[in-house]
Every structure is written in structure tokens, then in C-alpha cells.
């Protein structure tokens, strides 16, 4: 056999073909007693049903954590998690935080200087000094 094969694994590109939301789970913890959880309790009662219905792809767990501040923890597909303490926040502030958790990719925060990245080959190829119609200056 003249040609031997090398092995490579295909690379996934989220959004090409199918899009998977990176936030897979959000834990909501509250306390029945403490005042810092008042906004969280209100959020769970008033806003969470609508938010959860709008995001069926996120798993929500609501569990009490007595004598602790309320927390919203986002779990991501890359295995990381992002906890946000929401003590003394109003329900709509907590909604903003949950939207932040939903939109996050789970990666560590870093400055994005080039917002578009691609693994596709450039249409015109990589510039080479030995090709093309050069021009004399």
C-alpha cells in the first residue's frame, strides 16, 4: 500500500451544526430564616419559574442552605463552576446575575482582543514570500 494513513480527531465547533449552551446547571441556595436571602426567596417564587421555562436546557436545583448567604452557582460543560453570592440583592438583580451565568462560557475571564477566532483555513492562504505577483517598490 503506497499511502499510509495518519490519525487525527475531528474538532468540534459549537454553533456549527448544533449549538450547545455551555451553562448546564445552575444551583440556587437560599436560607429560610436569614434576611440576606429575602431577595433570593422572592426570586425563586416570582421570577425563577419563567426563567427556568425559558431555559429548559439548564438544570436548576433549588435547595436550602440554612444560616448561609444565598448563592447561585453555574456549572459549565468544561467542568468549571462559577459561584455568585447574591446576598441582600433584589430579585431583578439576581435575575441579571443568572443571565450572566447563563451567558458565560465557563472559561476563566480573559481579555478578548480578537473577538473572532476560526479554525477554518483562510481563503487566500498563508502569505508566502515565494508566491504571488510581487511588486517592486
Amino acid at each position: 500500500m503506497a499511502v499510509k494513513a495518519l490519525h487525527a480527531v475531528s474538532q468540534g465547533r459549537n454553533g456549527v451544526g448544533a449549538f450547545i449552551l455551555q451553562c448546564k446547571k445552575i444551583d440556587l441556595h437560599y436560607c429560610d430564616w436569614a434576611g440576606s436571602s429575602r431577595g433570593m426567596n422572592g426570586f425563586i417564587k416570582s421570577l425563577l419559574p419563567k426563567f427556568a421555562a425559558a431555559h429548559p436546557q439548564i438544570e436548576f436545583t433549588v435547595s436550602p442552605r440554612p444560616t448561609k448567604h444565598p448563592v447561585a452557582i453555574g456549572h459549565y460543560i468544561n467542568g468549571r463552576s462559577k459561584p455568585i453570592c447574591v446576598r441582600n440583592m433584589e430579585p431583578y438583580e439576581i435575575l441579571k446575575k443568572l443571565e450572566l451565568l447563563r451567558d458565560a462560557s465557563g472559561e476563566k475571564l480573559k481579555k478578548v482582543t480578537k473577538p473572532v477566532r476560526s479554525i477554518n483555513q483562510s481563503v487566500r492562504g498563508i502569505w508566502s514570500p515565494y508566491h504571488g505577483n510581487g511588486m517592486s517598490l
Binding site: V3, S10, G12, A18, I20
Partner: protein
């Protein structure tokens, strides 16, 4: 590689639960689990979830203080002795429901089926509760679509490269990565009390994988016995048609019949035995021990379980939503991934091979010509060499020596030959599969442009 699918029959066969309910409560249980108490939770397969067992008010005893921490889930006693969660628990799992939505699965696919796809054969050997049959179906569909895509879009790919491309796109490793990208979490140890939304596989036992249905060619035994060498094409025909199946053990293998001439016989055979054949993997697999955690064996088992889950999901989509849905699912999740085919080639004598190619195709013999050069006498020269056949440049390469540049140019020309593609818009056979049926249904309607024969190459170069 392209095996003809006859899935209509297979799907019914695969998804069918047992026709009547389990005869005895213990029959559904794994025999190795000895449940001495009379309160044994009865398992029914997902299709008969209506006849759900009455839960006794007793909860499962798990060594914790139930007075202080009442159990979060009211499980019947001895649930953890079950190899996998009860199908009825699938409806309560938030994880499973979120997964269902994340994959944008049709509501036609019930959560019980999705829960079943998450149970690997190594966790639950009972084929009525594990995903082995669905995984087999899904593997067939994935491999079919991947191979048809490659064969139509790159008709000149050599067999070896095609196999490597298939493995790179639809093999266990890419499928494992797909499963991870779906956010699948594995359960630490499988059992009845585990959340049904977790992937359950065991590191203790390898489990069984469905390798084929029904008929087995007699020649296979001979081949295996004499240990004859086989080409890739022969491997595709005589062994499994899934080059990407993770099992590499050379134990007893049953193979499907694929040859066209055998079809009649095969159909007759399949009507006779609807029983599933299992390939026994080697029983001498290393027993899992805490020290072996994270070893290559466990990683391989994990990869296999993840890949089988993805295949089972495809199988489930096919079984519940049909061919078109399964095709678009495979297209969206498997075929949309990027694989650089250019990097799959490794040559031995590219110049020789190119000369033979030109001789076979009756082109002018290839001539290497220097196109440009710089720094011939310096430490870092660069030569740009083109390979010409007649007046046409076949390939081009730049190298530090003339020899290197010539080899690269020849390799470039060969890759350009092998990676010929008729274009993105070309139809694959499954594209017109549905169309033909539609046209047949609406007889007399205007034709929408049927099947155009695709380009088929005469084959790759064979040299010494």
C-alpha cells in the same frame, strides 16, 4: 464501508421491549445480585411504564440517619442493588430533562429512552435495559452517513485514509468528545439509586457490545482460525463494518453479512433468529482496583461508554423520529466537526507514485522544474519546485534542498489527486432517499431533480 441499511426491521427489533411483562420479579434482575429480602423492586422496561410497581412506604436503608436527614428521593428498599435506575425515575430527573432540551431532541423521544441510552452494557448486562442495541443501531447510522459523505465528497480517498478519516470523524474518540461537549457526566458507580441523567458504566467488567445481527459468514471463522492477513476492504466486509468500534480484542467475533449476493440468504436467516448476537469480550480484562483508576484501561472504558452513549442517542432518534431526523442529527453533531483530511496522508515514495499515477492515467510523465530559488549558496536556501505534466503544473513545494522541494511537490500533486472533490453541493444517496418516496407517493407530480450518479474513481494506486 457503505453497508446497506435495512433499518426498518432493525429498529423494531431493537426497541422492542419484552412483549409481555416480566414473568417473575427476579427475572428482570441481574442474577449476580442476590436479593434475599422479599421486597425487591420490580423493573419494567420503558415501554410498559404504565404498569408501575407499587412502592412500599419503606425507604432504602443506606446507613444514614433518616430521622435527621429524610431521604431526598423516596426509593424502595434495595434500589442500590439494581444495576441501573428504574425507567420510571427518568421522569423525575432534572438532569435528563435538561439534556433532552440541550440536544434539541424531539418530544417524541421519551425521557425513559434517553435514560436508557445512558446505561452502558458494562453497567447493566440486561439488553432490555442497557443501550447496546440502540448503540448498534446508532453506530450503523453514523457510519453510514459518515462513509457516504466521504465517498461522495472525496471519491478518490485511498482505503487506509478513508478508514482513518472515518475513525477521526465517527470513531470512539470523536464520539467521546461529542459526549463530553454535550455535558455528559459519568456516575461514579452504576446502580439503581443513581440519578438517571448520569452516564452509567462500570470499570469492573467490560460488558458486551452488539456487533451484528443474525447471519454470520462461514468464511470468517476460517479467516480468524488461520489468521490470514486482510486488506482494509476485506476487513470492512468480513469483520465488523464499524472501523471505529472500540473493541479490539481478538475474541470470538460475529460479523454481519453485507455482500449483495448474500442478501436473500440473509433475509431468510434474519427472519429465523431475531435474537441478538453478542461478542464476548475477553474475560481476562483487568479487574478494576483503586490503584488502576485513571489508567489507560479505565480511560478506554470511559471512552467506549461515552461513544456508545452518542451512538445510542442517534439510534433513539432514529427509532422514534425516523430516518430524516436521525440524518440531520448526525449531520449537526458529527459531520459538522472539522477534520483536516490533508494531514491524514503519509507517503513512502511520492515521486514514484506520482509517476505511476501519470502512467496509469496516461498523462505526460511528471517533470520537476525549478520555479524559483533564493540563497542557493547561503545557509538557508529555499527552492520552489513545481511538478509538471506536460504544460500543466500538478503540484508545488518549497524546501531547503532540491530533493526536499521535489518530494513536497510530488506529495502536493498526489494529495491534489486524492482529495479531488466534486463540490459541496453534490447529493449523497440518502438525500434522494426521501425524495423518491415522495415522488412515488405524489405520482405524476413535477420531478424535483432525482439522483445524479456521483463520480466513482477506479481506485487507488497499488505499488509494491
Amino acid at each position: 464501508m457503505m453497508k446497506r441499511l435495512r433499518i426498518e426491521r432493525a429498529a423494531g427489533q431493537l426497541l422492542v421491549a419484552r412483549p409481555c411483562g416480566p414473568s417473575t420479579p427476579g427475572a428482570a434482575l441481574r442474577s449476580s445480585y442476590k436479593c434475599t429480602t422479599s421486597q425487591v423492586p420490580v423493573r419494567h422496561s420503558s415501554s410498559s411504564s404504565a404498569a408501575e410497581a407499587e412502592h412500599t412506604p419503606l425507604y432504602e436503608e443506606d446507613g444514614t440517619d433518616h430521622a435527621r436527614f429524610p431521604p431526598l428521593e423516596k426509593l424502595p428498599p434495595n434500589t442500590s442493588a439494581l444495576p441501573s435506575p428504574l425507567p420510571s425515575r427518568a421522569l423525575e430527573s432534572a438532569k435528563l430533562s435538561a439534556l433532552h432540551a440541550r440536544l434539541s431532541l424531539s418530544p417524541k423521544i421519551p425521557l425513559q429512552t434517553l435514560a436508557r441510552t445512558l446505561v452502558d452494557a458494562s453497567a447493566d448486562p440486561n439488553p432490555y435495559f442497557n443501550n447496546s442495541s440502540l448503540a448498534f443501531l446508532g453506530a450503523t447510522i453514523i457510519n453510514y452517513h459518515a462513509s457516504e459523505w466521504f465517498m461522495v465528497h472525496y471519491p478518490r480517498l485511498p482505503m487506509e485514509v478513508l478508514e482513518a478519516a472515518m475513525t477521526g470523524l465517527a470513531g470512539p474518540t470523536p464520539l467521546d468528545r461529542i459526549a463530553k461537549a454535550w455535558g455528559i457526566e459519568p456516575a461514579a458507580a452504576p446502580g439503581g439509586e443513581v440519578d438517571p441523567g448520569l452516564l452509567q458504566f462500570s470499570l469492573d467488567q467490560p460488558g458486551e457490545t452488539v456487533r451484528g445481527f443474525g447471519y454470520t459468514r462461514t468464511v470468517v471463522d476460517k479467516i480468524n482460525k488461520n489468521n490470514w492477513q486482510r486488506s482494509v476492504a476485506a476487513r470492512v466486509i468480513y469483520e465488523d463494518n464499524l472501523p471505529a468500534l472500540p473493541s479490539t480484542t481478538k475474541a470470538k467475533q460475529t460479523t454481519p453479512a453485507v455482500a449483495e449476493q448474500e442478501e436473500q440468504q440473509q433475509e431468510e436467516q434474519q427472519q429465523d433468529d431475531s435474537e441478538v448476537d453478542y461478542a464476548e469480550t475477553s474475560p481476562a480484562a483487568p479487574k478494576f482496583s483503586p490503584t488502576s483508576y485513571g489508567s489507560s484501561t479505565t480511560r478506554e472504558l470511559s471512552e467506549k461508554a461515552h461513544a456508545n452513549f452518542v451512538r445510542a442517542v442517534v439510534g433513539a432518534v432514529f427509532a422514534h423520529c425516523g430516518r430524516e431526523a436521525a440524518k440531520s442529527f448526525v449531520k449537526a453533531h458529527v459531520l459538522s466537526r472539522q477534520l483536516d483530511l490533508e494531514r491524514l496522508f503519509a507517503f513512502k515514495h511520492p515521486t514514484l507514485e506520482l509517476a505511476m499515477l501519470c502512467a496509469r492515467e496516461e498523462f505526460d510523465p511528471p517533470v520537476a522544474r525549478l520555479l524559483s530559488e533564493t540563497g542557493r549558496l547561503s545557509r538557508t536556501p529555499v527552492f520552489v519546485v513545481g511538478v509538471y505534466s506536460g504544460n500543466e503544473k500538478l503540484g508545488e513545494g518549497a524546501g531547503a534542498t532540491l530533493e526536499q522541494a521535489r518530494l513536497k511537490a510530488a506529495m502536493h500533486a498526489l494529495k491534489a489527486w486524492y482529495l479531488y472533490s466534486p463540490g459541496e453541493g453534490v447529493k449523497v444517496p440518502s438525500d434522494v432517499l426521501g425524495q423518491e418516496e415522495e415522488e412515488a407517493a405524489a405520482a405524476g407530480g413535477k420531478k424535483k431533480g432525482g439522483w445524479e450518479p456521483v463520480y466513482i474513481d477506479i481506485g487507488e494506486l497499488i505499488s509494491r
